[in-house]
Symmetry: C2
Subunit: 336 residues, 2 copies
DNA sequence: ATGAAAGCGCTAACAC
DNA sequence: GTGTTAGCGCTTTCAT
């Protein structure tokens, strides 16, 4: 019934428990023959280490937690995938938890797991900086797609990406763009708006911000309606889900895209290639984000290393993907 | 640096460690004043129980794991959500792990976590029955959308649902349907085909099965092409993702839906209401699946209870959602 | 290179 | 109702 322990293995192999322990967690400190003996006996007995007993003394769990702000957003898939692969390569288990776009739930999930994992990947966290800093003081934490001064992070570049995006729109003749903002607590929403505003100023087009909107398809209708009141001929939605919602609403209102108005998104999710019209969007290699984040986290969680990467802020390039939802600005009239 | 333990709390409160322990895990076995004292002191000290120490003796972790066969499939969202809510209501943490449609990865994830959680929710497992039975012998396991004799499960009804689906198609004049099957290791694919075949026989329409196909949008092209060779005028795709891929391919090939051919899916994911044409699909209240599954699992994981629900096989009703992708069978010719 | 033994922080008998 | 105490299964000094 009850599974074998190191005592069983030690007895069967005729060695001390500490030798069994070493054979597993510190193989090079045991002579080759002894190690092989122990491992063979352990296998015969079907021994598997009890992770709790191990964690109780070693304070390591070999488990990492990834908190995603909304597991429904396909944008996270690639990040998750990249993180999983990297975690597996280092023999870590990666568990996912969902924050459902709620700071309260995010806080709850984190504190629930904080003693059970070696560190956290916080993707698009909705928590205030202070909470994150306080939290990072006692835990290994890496932020994904969010920067907080003093906490290691990896983000996709927005500044240069947004500049390219606005440049693309300007080159199509658009002189007025509207940013349909993401959630108020989204750092990314702030970063995007700042980058768009600055790029617009530099290039000489006008930019307004509407919202905030919860970045899901179903909120695209409200976003589209709001955007149409601005007279902007190009709409930059906070992400692809919202952009797709906007496209649907515009179609409903018989406004043609891109003929009457251009629409763009962010993230380059799979669906953005499939919707009608297909969506111009600012993407990037999200799997790399996940991979890099795990690497930073392994580093941060390493009790020995202190590899000095303490507070690296990594920025990876984004990538403008041109599709059918952007076109020349309409002449002689504004949309809506 | 190191966080306070029950010893610290016990000393500060002037009680025994066991009293502190009880105050937290067995409140009713401590007098009200003592309990309040202990809890107050604990809070002042910032005490939080060490889950590993707790698990080491009690053999309970208050954590449940949910293994999803492919986290990219939006079909799981509602199930996850329902499970999360129910787990939270019972003060359990729910962690998610991804099996990526791979039996090997699924097995790996399970065995990694098996000592760290109280039980598993296996959704759409791709593992063979024997593995599952062996596994369920030592762990609390509940299957979601898969039935295995001897393991508790909760599934959405397919038999009656598929009958309704085939009836719907027959009533539109279709006499020949093709099922575009899901993965070979998918129990659900087998269940759906059996139900479709039987319903078709009963109703008097012919049914063929094509595939298997990996149920993702990108495999819809191959599925559509294969289906067109059959001459069937109605295509039943294994799920909505595949169905959407089929729609895209048919549009590419200038085959009109539903005028030339009808298409249906399963799951009623959000996108199936948004694609063009919108998709007729067999859905159901997936959140209830997740909720019910957690309830069975809590039961199965309860060391005292043995509530006799040992091997309940729950079947919840599915629901046919009619949209624009099904219509009257074309007259005088077959598709393709 | 290996063994002996002391915890890690908690729970669960068992006493009182 | 509360205290005492012996582990849970492992890691980790410290000896040898």
């Amino acid at each position: 019934m009850t599974s074998p322990t190191i005592y069983d293995v030690a007895r069967a192999a005729g060695v001390a428990t500490s030798t069994v322990s070493r054979a597993f967690s510190n193989p090079q400190r045991v002579s080759a023959p002894t190690r092989e003996l122990v491992l063979r006996v352990a296998k015969e007995l079907g021994y598997e280490a009890n992770p709790h007993a191990r964690a109780l003394t070693s304070r390591r769990t070999d488990t990492l937690a990834m908190v995603v702000s909304d597991i429904k957003n396909p944008h996270f898939y690639e990040i998750i995938r990249g993180a999983e692969l990297r975690a597996k390569a280092s023999a870590r288990t990666l568990v996912l938890v969902n924050a459902e776009e709620s700071p309260r739930i995010e806080r709850e999930q984190i504190s629930r797991l904080s003693r059970s994992v070696d560190g956290f990947l916080l993707t698009a966290s909705r928590l205030p900086d202070e909470d994150l800093l306080e939290f990072a003081a006692t835990q290994a934490v890496v932020m994904v797609n969010r920067q907080v001064h003093g906490i290691p992070s990896v983000v996709l570049d927005q500044r240069e990406g947004c500049r390219q995006l606005v440049t693309h729109l300007a080159s199509l003749g658009h002189t007025s763009v509207a940013y349909l903002s993401g959630p108020q607590k989204s750092w990314m929403a702030g970063a995007r708006w700042a980058a768009i505003r600055d790029a617009a100023a530099e290039i000489g087009v006008s930019a307004v911000r509407m919202g905030p909107f919860t970045p899901r398809v179903e909120h695209g209708a409200a976003a589209a309606d709001a955007a149409l009141t601005t007279g902007a001929t190009a709409l930059i939605a906070h992400n692809d889900l919202l952009a797709i919602g906007v496209l649907l609403r515009l179609a409903d209102r018989s406004i043609r895209v891109p003929r009457d108005i251009s629409v763009t998104g962010f993230d380059d999710i799979f669906a953005s290639a499939l919707c009608t019209p297909s969506l111009t969007t600012l993407g990037g290699t999200h799997a790399n984000l996940g991979r890099a984040a795990v690497e930073l986290l392994l580093d941060a969680a390493d009790p020995t290393g202190r590899a000095g990467t303490a507070s690296l802020q990594l920025v990876q390039p984004s990538q403008l993907v041109l599709r059918d939802s952007t076109g020349p600005a309409p002449v002689g009239r504004s949309a809506g």
